[in-house]
């Protein structure tokens, strides 16, 4: 069987060309073809945010983004946040707040929050909650995650 036509796109600054069916969810391409395991499969239905990545700077669910939709675009995953091996300010804030329990939701949380802070560097608590509302966490880490995002925004924690 011949391979499908490759799709070209950029991930964390590196150009890739992946020969997979155009309707393949981006999540599987990232995890299996590019070995970027940060984005997680949570529901495959666009409901939980575990698979969140940035597409040209906007937070999207990689599980319901088909490969064809990223052709020629820039994808950022959690692996791309720590430039040169130094954690981003947001990652550092999550570390300082120890805002992780099992951690399965966390890369999605980091991506949604990165997109928020990019757009709104000094968000109110309500703005943070609204931006994060489609990211679920079953371990109940939300209070710490809110504090971490506020810390990254240079705000005293008041969640």
């Amino acid at each position: 069987m011949s391979l499908p036509e490759p799709t070209r796109f950029t991930v964390n600054g590196t150009a890739h060309s992946v020969p997979a069916e155009p309707d393949t969810p981006l999540l599987y391409v990232l995890r299996n073809d590019l070995d970027l395991k940060g984005a997680k499969f949570g529901c495959g239905l666009g409901q939980c945010g575990a698979c969140t990545v940035l597409l040209d700077g906007h937070a999207v669910n990689a599980c319901d983004t088909p490969l064809w939709a990223v052709a020629g675009k820039q994808v950022t995953t959690v692996e791309g946040l720590a430039a040169g091996g130094t954690m981003s300010r947001l990652q550092q804030a999550f570390l300082d707040e120890q805002a992780v329990q099992c951690g399965y939701c966390i890369s999605g949380m980091l991506m949604s929050a990165t997109a928020l802070l990019e757009r709104t560097p000094d968000p109110t608590l309500d703005q943070i909650k609204e931006a994060m509302d489609r990211n679920l966490c079953r371990c109940g880490t939300q209070a710490r995650i809110l504090r971490a995002i506020q810390r990254a925004a240079g705000q005293g924690a008041s969640a």
Binding site: F41, C102, G103, Y104, G140, T141, A159
Partner: protein
Amino acid sequence: MSAAIKVPPMLSANPRLDRWVKFNDDRTATVFTGRVELGQGIITALTQIAAEELDLTFEQVRIVDADTELTPDEGHTSGSRSISEGGSAMRSACAEVRAVLLAEAARRLDIPADRLVVEEGRITGADRIRETTYWNLPHAELLDRAATGQVPPKPVARYTVVGRSARRLDIPDKLTGRPRFVADMKLPGMLHGRVARPPSFGAKLVSIDEAAIRAMPGVVAVVRDGDFLGVVAEREEQAVKARKAMIAGSRWTEQPIPTDAADIYRFIETRDTTDTVIVERRDEAALARAAKTFESRYAKPYVAHASLGPSCALATFDPGRIEVWTHSQGVYPLQRELAEVFGLPVPSVVAHHVDGPGCYGHNGADDAALDAVLLARAVPGRPVMLQWMRDDEFAWEPLGPAMVVKTRAAVDAAGNIVDWSLDLWSNGHTQRPGVVVTTEPSVSLLAAWHLEKPVPRIPQGDPAMSGGGGMARNAEVIYALPNQKVVAHRVEELPLRASTLRALGAYANVFAGESFIDELAEACGADPVEYRLRHMQNPRARAVIELAAQKAGWVSNEKSDGTKGRGIAFAQYKNGYGYIAIVAEVVLEPEFRVMRMVAAVDVGLAINPDGILNQTEGGILQALSWTLKEQVQFDRERILSRDWETYPVLTFSEVPKVEVHLIDRRDEEPLGAGETPTGPTAAAVANALAHALGVRVRELPLTRERIIAALERT
């Protein structure tokens, strides 16, 4: 000679010292635990304990968690017992390792062992001239022996690592996306698998067009064994598509479910039951003072674990050897069950624990391990990564069972409780191996029941009261009451698959008991905090109630203005573990919302204080999600909650401010923390809602519909 020290049971079961500790050439040590990391931070706390006893730094200790080839067998990691059981075994083993090595150092240095000082593994005498290290001693030979369990651990007063907050070891990887979970593993030649489960519990497969599935792109194998169906493909998305086609192309006969979500409470209350008296304390003189009696009935639905990631496992199958990577809570019990299903000797099955999505009890992890092996058997020599889809998880994981709790009490003329009784109805709360012993083989693993040659299901069991109980966990209250009777009515008929979920029966029992005591306080015109304290003698219990009230700014006998309310609840988990009191603050305008949760916790010595805070905050928010929103929907055919829209959970906009205050009790035994807040969260919120509303909602979850219904009844 002093009296013999009680040997920790996990150390007696795994006595060899080198099963617990090994020294590495790079001046580090590796410790081995049969406990598993579930997102609760246990490996970090155990590392602290090991570093403390070995006089190493936290950074010098590495830890390996549950693995049938490497670590002690500690059964299941559950019930908040890891610190009390796993921690005491680790502490005792490490203390003995240190003593054994010190005895040898004493001989070599010619200095009495009790004059030696250990720092970061360097062993010196007071003169600082003669010295050696753990690594210079023949440690491997010295540790090749059985533990006596008789070496006293370090006194708490000398602790430098334990009792201070340590950053969790697994967090950096989880923040940077480094592979850490089972689902992130990759082995050479790995294929991807999916299962196509029956549409409902008792369904039987009538037909499936296997050839059509086999012809789909990338499909390597179609597995059909009795009513078990699965597929293996080159690529993950190909396996997902093939699974979809299998579900669409298979025909089944289904069996009805004897009840549904609307009928479930009537159902469990009217079945035949096995009744157990949990406690009965009688004081006739007190009974004679009864002036007024009260009764209430509370109910809690089926609740799902619903981990954020569906269950997953990686397996290889070679004739005569099975290897699996799993996020099971118990790799050794899983090993024994897999050996049973495949008719292999136990050592032919190897199970390694790898982190998984948050685990709150007996979920689908073990089932997924069997699924992965069944798929791998179709492609011998090639590893298969299997993950359930979201609906597999909702429809097939064992749920936390529905419960009904009825309470009765009498008070005297002064409002003091003179009689208290609680009756509860529930299925048994576990289907784990080892609880019910059967003469014929039986297993807890889902797919095994569906095979052509099935291995039957383990009968539903209920954990013994000696270990804290299951359905009747925390059904007895620890208030000083002259009369108390608790009866557990165990329903044998099992409408839906059920097993252990965080706190088990304590969630419903504490919700009921702590709601009811508020009802009594209100009827007697007493303040809920004062009323609890009036009936509580245990000083540690009183301390958490007082601290939570103080930190929340509790105002005695405060009247609600009809828009706001506050409520308190208390429990000592399993009536022998951690103490907690929680104050909830709610508003009704513009809609019912929880604004703030303030907790005071006493878990004895806190090994990793920040870890305790993290787990407690998490436990509160998870229980809040259950309390406000969660209920598994099902009709007489199927489970209807199959995704996050049909099973909504707490979202960020519903998250209140959470404050946890820890009472440091360095001299008290360390107790588990993970499950303490579960029941009190539900009751505190229900009490706050009743305070604001003036009427009480006694069925969970506390939804808008139930609030309106309660208002209409008045």
